[in-house]
Symmetry: none
Subunit: 187 residues, 2 copies
DNA sequence: GACGTAGTTTCTCTATAGCGAAAAGGGGGT
DNA sequence: ACCCCCTTTTCGCTATAGAGAAACTACGTC
């Protein structure tokens, strides 16, 4: 449940931190002074539309006001090897998803040795997406000339209708999960 | 500014995707049926307290409902900024997939304490599937009266149009990845 | 076709969010 | 002390969020 108290403190923190008065924030956010005062003191529960305007006035995303503090997490690395396919280059890929007619999804688990480049994959049909979740190590993801570095626990989504590649730039093995939704090319 | 229309669609998508009726969600979230209907149809703007209860009833963090979809080709979510929701019962779920309009995929990471039962989930719409990969510990997977025990590294696929549940029968914490493709029931 | 039944919408009423303005602190300066 | 700012809180009043129940809308079934 959301605590109105912490919400109020958060708003007030952001407002005073910016050196703004209730009056000034009221003008920027198009919310009345009295309402702002009530929200900060947790006297009233604003509607999302009003809270959204307040966030705009403060110049922060709405998420920032309602997000709960992120607890620290530790990615547990531990996985038994099963049926793996080793590729030239030293990396191994495990296909976890079974073959199901009519389902265009692949769930893969890939291990990249340190410094290994798994190469690039061609552009799939428009509408295809891929999700990547890095379990351990570091992954260098290249999507259409754009290069990203992901650490353990990071995830990424991208439209897979462009060339994309995977590599491990670090000195430790990299393990990541890949979910691919592949559309059929139009004919 | 927040668009009430997309908020309503998002709530409805999550509700129907879980096979819930307005009535059932009303009981889980302690929000009246009429209010839920109004929110989904963007007829009224809920207060954050009510929206927070709706999010709880859906089992998603409040952030999930108000996050603005990112139009970027590549969406990266760092480990520190992922949505974690703690449930009564002690288990914890992390939503790894970003909010992308039109894509009905949920990529989840779940941690179950020893002996914890995450409960059962309703039958989703026909055509929905789920993939499970156990990262560590032991997972007791129940699919339509059939009970399976999965160890670290094991994976399973099942059509999610039946009741299914997750529990940790072991004495160690269980961590598993779940990929869900939720079809939306035609209306 | 008539008749349930499950699900959603619409209706009515009350609690309260939200606004504008007035009142209550709170320092500084003369 | 007093007065004059600026800032925040309080005070009506109106609009609307929110609950509960009735009314509508598919559907299957006999």
């Amino acid at each position: 449940m959301l605590d109105l108290g912490v919400l109020g403190e958060r708003v007030q923190q952001l407002r005073t931190g910016r050196g703004l008065t209730l009056q000034e924030l009221a003008e920027r956010s198009s919310v009345s002074v009295s309402m702002l005062s009530s929200v900060e003191r947790a006297a009233k529960a604003p509607t999302i539309t009003v809270l959204s305007r307040i966030a705009d006035g403060l110049g922060v995303p709405l998420t920032r006001l309602v997000a709960e503090p992120s607890p620290d997490r530790v990615i547990v690395r531990r996985a038994a090897e099963q049926e793996v396919s080793d590729h030239p280059g030293g990396w191994r890929r495990t296909i976890l998803s079974p073959v199901v007619p009519g389902v265009n999804v692949e769930l893969l688990r890939t291990e990249l040795p340190p410094g290994c480049d798994a190469g690039s994959f061609p552009a799939y049909a428009p509408g295809s997406h891929e999700y990547v979740v890095v379990q351990s190590g570091t992954l260098a993801l290249t999507v259409d000339e754009q290069r990203l570095t992901l650490g353990a626990g990071d995830s990424a989504y991208f439209a897979a209708d462009v060339v994309h590649g995977f590599a491990n730039p670090g000195s430790e093995p990299c393990v990541y999960h890949l979910t691919a939704l592949i559309m059929r090319p139009r004919r």
